[in-house]
């Protein structure tokens, strides 16, 4: 899961920041969904694209970034072995080659993955990109100085668990082989059919060892993408990117790179961003945001204005908000209590608290409702739209709580909306109807995280959320439900402390599959099986409404990121 925003925001910033650029003039613009693209005339090269963001790009080191699919702004500068398909909707949830010629060639049991680099790849200074640079880039992400990335490399690469990066350990990672300048081979400690997804992350970007300046590298990382960093002020608060003349469109089918310059402004209040985009004045006419969506208040305003409504793109991202139970805490050890709560939940008021039906879709499945995740509809404890209080009461009575039940719901006081007080109070209000009195325990964000992610202190009942590292069931289900991923002395995400042999075996079996469609189907089935255990109550999947400036064209929002892909945007 990507690290969600830590700053209180009134409107959820999509927990995603991605990017890219693709397309060269030579390739010409791809066909895009007409509805999603702004403007009528064909997109042209040139101009300056302004990006208005709330979160500063504090980290701009590929080793530190935790992105889904390579990020948005980072993806303009960092090319990776593979990348996400830059297309609208479900098609955008596919993985495609980037620096590599294909999405990876696995051995039979998917424990060895081999990639070949395209020809003619160059850095911004004109020096060629080699497979050793990619290996070095991955290695430095193991350095404690540059921590921050996803855990998969450490978990999957053979003998990588205790590796401390190239600064302390000059020998390097033996799990990565570079037989020649264009070939790179990964040796995994277990079958991982989804390795191509992992190769989209920024850790797979090449870093020239000679230019590595350690923690200072992020002030000017060496570009392999269509843009290079011109200036990076105030810790990523103001980033200016200009064309990287050594980038060749011929090697890059994904990034269009229409604008000549990208001006990223961040640290802005989310409501200010939306005001600026709606006013669309001056440079803001050519502005987009990659981390801010419309909040309910803004949606209410925009929906009454046709001109504005035409400038809104809708995005989905694999993300689920849910109520988590800890079955080792009474009374949640009793499945009947958990089921009763599942029945009692009023999803419509929760959805309202999250911004209404346009910004959230009620969820009964843990997996996001997208095909790439293997979405299989099911609803083991049908609560209808506003809860089935009668059924809940009946179950509670069976569980010996005839006179109602008093429980505590833990949530974060931070206003980022997934775990916010507003949703907690909606849950509180909904369960009242079933005779369940809910006491709210609002904690400061850090305290909340410490508490819910520690096996020792995990509360019995709390608000949680989970987002996809890539659009597949693997990274969605395994960290939460794989018994071997219970972390006793660290950050634990298996909140239900589920260690079910059949679940674990099925996860291993699916990981062996390199046919991602076949895998998706089995993830869906597994999700249903786990859902019946009532370890979580899925609440809703967020929907993202993205406003953009009047001059913005070629709007592409994929289901992988749910954000305007700025590598596709044109402002002329």
């Amino acid at each position: 899961m990507r690290q969600p925003s830590v700053i209180a925001r009134r409107v959820a910033a999509a927990s995603v920041s991605l990017v890219v650029a693709a397309g060269a003039a030579a390739c010409g613009p791809e066909d895009n969904d007409a509805k999603a693209s702004g403007g009528d005339s064909a997109p042209q090269k040139g101009g300056t694209l302004t990006v208005l963001n709330s979160e500063p790009q504090t980290d701009f080191d590929p080793a530190r970034l935790y992105t889904s699919g390579g990020g948005n702004v980072p993806s303009l500068v960092f090319r990776t072995l593979t990348t996400r398909n830059r297309e609208n909707g479900a098609a955008g949830a596919k993985v495609v080659p980037d620096l590599a010629t294909d999405t990876g060639r696995p051995n039979k049991d998917a424990t060895v993955w081999t990639y070949t680099l395209k020809k003619g790849l160059k850095y911004e200074d004109g020096t060629p990109i080699t497979s050793a640079d990619i290996k070095y880039g991955i290695e430095r992400s193991f350095a404690p100085e540059l921590s921050g990335g996803a855990p998969y490399l450490r978990d999957w690469l053979t003998g990588a668990a205790d590796y401390q990066g190239p600064y302390k350990d000059k020998k390097g990672l033996s799990a990565i082989g570079t037989p020649d300048e264009r070939t790179i081979v990964f040796h995994l400690n277990k079958p991982e059919g989804e390795f191509p997804y992992l190769a989209t992350q920024t850790q797979f970007t090449p870093v020239p060892k000679a230019k590595d300046t350690g923690t200072k590298y992020e002030s000017h990382p060496v570009s392999s993408g269509p843009y290079k960093v011109v200036s990076n002020d105030n810790d990523g608060e103001h980033l200016v990117l200009a064309r990287n003349t050594h980038w060749s469109a011929a090697t890059d089918e994904e990034r269009k790179a229409y604008p000549d310059k990208i001006d990223v402004r961040s640290g802005l209040d989310s409501s200010v961003i939306n005001q600026r985009l709606s006013a669309s004045q001056g440079a803001d006419a050519a502005a987009v945001t990659t981390d801010t969506n419309l909040g309910p208040a803004e949606l209410a305003k925009v929906s009454g204005d046709k001109a504005l409504a035409a400038r809104v793109g809708t995005g989905h991202f694999g993300y689920t908000n849910y109520l988590a139970f800890n079955p080792t805490v009474k009374p949640f050890d009793d499945p009947k209590v958990r089921q009763a709560i599942s029945y009692a939940i009023d999803r419509s008021s929760v959805v309202n608290a999250a911004g209404g039906s346009a910004l959230a879709e009620a969820a009964t499945t843990f997996l996001p409702d997208q095909k790439s995740f293997g979405y299989t509809p099911y609803d083991p404890f049908p609560a209808g739209t506003s809860g089935n209080a009668a059924k809940a009461k009946e179950l509670l009575a069976q569980a010996g709580h005839k006179n109602g039940l008093s429980i505590t719901l833990t949530h974060s006081n931070s206003k980022d909306f997934e775990t916010s007080p507003e949703i907690a109070t909606a849950v509180q209000d909904a369960l009242k109807k079933a005779g369940i009195t809910v006491k709210l325990q609002g904690l400061e964000d850090n305290g909340y995280r410490d508490k819910i992610h520690s096996v020792k202190t995990e509360p019995g009942f709390f608000l949680a959320h989970w987002g996809a590292d890539w659009p597949s069931g693997g990274p969605f289900l395994a960290p939460i439900f794989d018994g071997r991923q219970i972390v006793k002395d660290g950050s634990n995400f298996n909140s239900g402390l589920l260690d079910d042999k059949s679940v674990n075996t099925e996860i291993d079996a699916i990981n062996k599959l390199t046919d991602l469609d076949a895998a998706a189907e089995r993830w869906g089935a597994l999700d249903r099986k786990i859902g019946e255990k009532a370890l979580v109550v899925p609440l809703f999947h967020p929907v993202y409404k993205r406003l953009y400036g009047e001059d913005v064209k070629n709007v592409v929002i994929s289901d992988w990121t749910g954000v305007l892909d700025i590598s596709q945007v044109a402002v002329k």
Binding site: M1, Q3, V6, I7, A8, P56, T58, D59, Y66, R140, A143, P144, E145, S147, G148, G149, P151, R154, D155, A161, Q164, G165, Y167, D212, T213, G214, T215, K216, E218, N234, D235, E237, H238, R265, S266, G267, L268, D269, S271, V272, Q275, R276, S278, A279, Q281, G282, L443, D445, N446, G447, R449, D450, K451, H453, P479, V487, D489, G490, S491, F493
Partner: protein
């Protein structure tokens, strides 16, 4: 001037003591505050082993006093630190490096400070003009409708939280009337004109909050002065009412206004958090809030020391200015 030297010396010592006490308090507070620093720095999905490595890297496992000693060493002697590829020297006074980004805290301060200072100094001009003007008018028109109306307006500024004033101002002035661009910080050195235009609304919002205090102080001091004997003297000598108000009554208010101004400026440099957050100004206050949330202790300590420094400095300055403006006061 000997008394003055002694005064300065006492103030400097006092300031140093205060700042050290502040840093100790911050260290202790963060020691008891929830939030696993190493986990936050490393990322939520880091394994215990990785978290341990990061903790070692950042010396988080050392006892509190060792860490504080390290901090003191940095301040007096500077310290060396590793970027991974090389060893850099952070010259004294070194406030350490950010846990999150590895940047030197002193660098962070130098990038944030101009923003906060720009915000506060510009706003200061407005709040002085607005506050003193209103104060003079309401002292002059005491008890009449003008005064009540002015009081109501300035109070509206104080009573309404800045995020409401600021956002409504932005929506109306920038969004609907399109009189000004949406604020976005531009360096003074890059483009002074844009700097001013972009800061106009933040200045106004901040000034509206502070103006009422100055209006009330000006009014009160003027009424105080107007009741004094020397005003009677000038009236009895046929000096015009306007000259009495401006030359004598207002002059009597200057000492306290100057003192209040120094203090307000001092506390606003690090304290205009809400204004900075709303207008996206990357200043000290905003950075502090962010650093607190991610438990970036070196940055927090650095920022608190900067804000504390300004507050302490402002207080000392207020005393000096008060004494200079009002020679009757003896510095103690």
């Amino acid at each position: 001037m000997n008394g003055f030297t002694g005064f300065v010396l006492r103030r400097v010592i006092g300031a140093v003591v205060t700042l050290f006490a502040l840093s100790v308090i911050i260290y202790v507070v963060f020691y008891v505050t929830p939030g696993n620093v190493a986990q936050i720095t490393c990322g939520p999905r880091c394994s215990p082993a990785q978290v341990h490595q990061v903790a070692q890297q950042l010396h988080l496992d050392d006892p509190l006093y060792v860490r504080y000693g390290h901090f003191l060493q940095g301040i007096f002697a500077g310290q060396d630190y590793s970027t991974g590829t090389s060893v850099e020297h952070c010259a004294a006074p070194c406030l350490g490096q950010s846990y999150q980004t590895g940047r030197q805290v002193t660098d962070v301060i130098w990038t944030k400070l101009p923003v906060s200072v720009s915000l506060v100094l510009g706003a200061m001009v407005i709040w002085l003009v607005l506050g003193i003007g209103t104060g003079v008018l309401s002292a002059w028109r005491r008890g009449r409708f003008t005064e009540r109306a002015l009081t109501a307006v300035t109070l509206a500024g104080t009573a309404t939280p800045v995020f409401v004033i600021g956002l409504v101002l932005m929506i109306v002035v920038c969004g609907e009337l399109r009189l000004l661009p949406f604020p976005q910080y531009v360096n003074l050195t890059d483009d002074p004109e844009q700097w001013a235009w972009n800061l106009l609304l933040p200045w106004l919002s901040l000034a509206l909050i502070e103006a009422a205090g100055f209006a009330r102080l000006t009014r009160a001091s003027m009424l105080e002065t107007l009741a004094e004997d020397h005003i009677r003297t000038f009236r009895a000598y046929g000096v015009g009412e306007r000259a009495i108000i401006v030359r004598h009554a207002l002059r009597g208010a200057t000492a306290s206004v100057i003192a209040l101004n120094a203090v307000t400026v001092g506390s606003a440099v690090g304290g205009a958090v809400l204004t900075e957050t709303l207008f996206g100004l990357p200043g000290i206050g905003q950075e502090l809030v962010h650093a607190v949330k991610v438990v970036d202790l070196p940055v927090v300590v650095g920022m608190v020391l900067v804000t504390g420094f300004f507050v302490v400095l402002a207080n000392a300055l207020a005393d000096v200015l008060y004494a200079v403006a009002d020679r009757r006061v003896v510095l103690a």
